[in-house]
Amino acid sequence: MMLNSSELMQIIPFLVLGTGIVISLLIEMYSSKSDAILPWLTIALLIYVAVHSINEVGSNDLLFGGMLAVGGKSSIFNFLFAVGGALVSLGAIDYIKKYGANFGEFYVLVQSSILGMMFMSGARDILVVFLGLELMSICFYVLVGINRKKINANEASMKYFLLGAFATGFIVYGVALVFGTAQTMRIGEILVNFSSLSGNILFMTGFILLIVGFAFKIAAFPFHMWVPDVYTGSSTAVTGLMSTGGKAAAFSVLLVLLGAVFTQEIENTFMPLFAGLAVLSMLYGSIVAIAQNNLKRMLAYSSISHAGYMLIGLAAGNLESVTGIMFYLVIYVFMNIGAFGIIAIIEGPNDDRVDLNSYAGLHQKNPVLALFMALFMLALAGLPPLAGFFGKYYVFIAAIESDLTWLAIVGVFSSVISVYFYLRVIVYMYFKESEVDFNVNISPTGLMTVVICGLLLIVYGLFPGSLLGLIASVVN
């Protein structure tokens, strides 16, 4: 099948990024200046992808015989992945030198994982979902362990790999059962026949296995065991990418798989499943995070509880919840990349200075960093008027509209618990004397990442309407 010129225009982001990956590899091999070129080439490519995607947001087409959707929701997701990837690459320029992983492959792998995420959000055929998911996951396994001399990174990448491949096994078996009963891999055709298929025990087993596989990728409670170890053991830049892009990509697939639920064409059969996962993730994440002294580990548990808040939206299953989840994901990407950006600046060369004590008295050492860290912590806690508040607010509203008020109340309760450990960081920074003596070496590019994320959070907190209007217009 040939593509006509307008369709070619719409897959340009994929082509540009794909070509960029090959060119980056060639630069890494043959150029002695690859250190200086690759980060900026990566950022330029990703910014181009982001701009192109957001320009295509009005269109809504299916390409490659209905396998890949462009425009609409996938445009917004592609924009999010590309901007997230660009911010992470910007923050990583100085960080990976300090971490001892200044290899050109780092940027190539970041680009490839973003390409995988873009395929996931655009996929309308299970085959494309699978390929995108594996492209992203395999790049992450390597990125986690990119410094092969560090034993922490080795251990984290081994755990991530074994559990990630285990989840892949569930997804593939689920695909086999869904294919055998639905007789197709087109997500659209499966959803049209969903009501007649939902009586079939094999089909439901397959579908639930698929959901379990993706629950692993979004780090929801009983499938969270890898999260704290992998987030702590990998380099902070990679953690920033995994916790945001990986989660957003898995949610984009879930939103497509359950697409007919949100338009109320089929009954929300999975409501009890998602409500259960949401309650367990929120409470477990918030409560265990209280006991953490290591900031990366604390943010890992907070990431589990944020997955819980987003799952409330899946349990609610109406169009408002799609808008809410997407808005939440956009905000979450900026909050988390910003917070990990600051951790990357403070972190020492040997994975040290990531505990709370290193943040004591940060206000005296560097007021700007302390201010932005306080901003990210308050946004993650969901305090108005920062954007994090609106993320939670829209998801809770969607739950109330679907008569799941109790779920929203559990969500609010869990946010109240989480305020404790977010505020504790602020108390350490502003009201404690510094015990560890070290100089904060600010990297200009790292600071730039933090400032961009911080400003976006303030802007979207004060004026959430523009972003929300855009998302609502593509969802409806």
Binding site: L131, M158, V172, Q183
Partner: protein, 102 residues
């Protein structure tokens, strides 16, 4: 000649999948755990190909090819990770790889 009914293939693939899951959960050697994961993927391939032939729909066989390709890529990365950890710790026993508590 009558062909083997589809149920036989499905029971075999479900059995293989269960063996794989059990292996991942109870074995402690990273290589054996990895082999069990490959068994899970292959049980899915068996189900896919059986369904595909039963339904006369080739999509399942195509998917099985992609699963094999991806499994090969995963094996390359996975074995590299296991070698990296063996160089540092001289063991691939999952119980001894415990800097972080699980």
């Amino acid at each position: 000649m009558t062909s083997i009914p589809i149920e036989y293939y499905l029971i075999l693939s479900a059995f293989m999948f269960s063996v794989g899951v059990t292996g991942v959960l109870i074995r402690r050697n990273a290589i054996v755990v990895f082999m069990s994961i490959e068994l899970m993927l292959n049980s899915a391939n068996l189900a896919l190909v059986a369904f595909s032939s039963y339904l006369g729909n080739s999509t399942g066989q195509i998917f099985a090819f992609f699963v094999m390709t991806v499994a090969a890529a995963e094996a390359a990365v996975g074995l590299a990770i296991i070698i990296a950890i063996f160089r540092n710790k001289l063991t691939v026993n999952l119980d001894e790889i415990n800097i972080f508590k699980w």
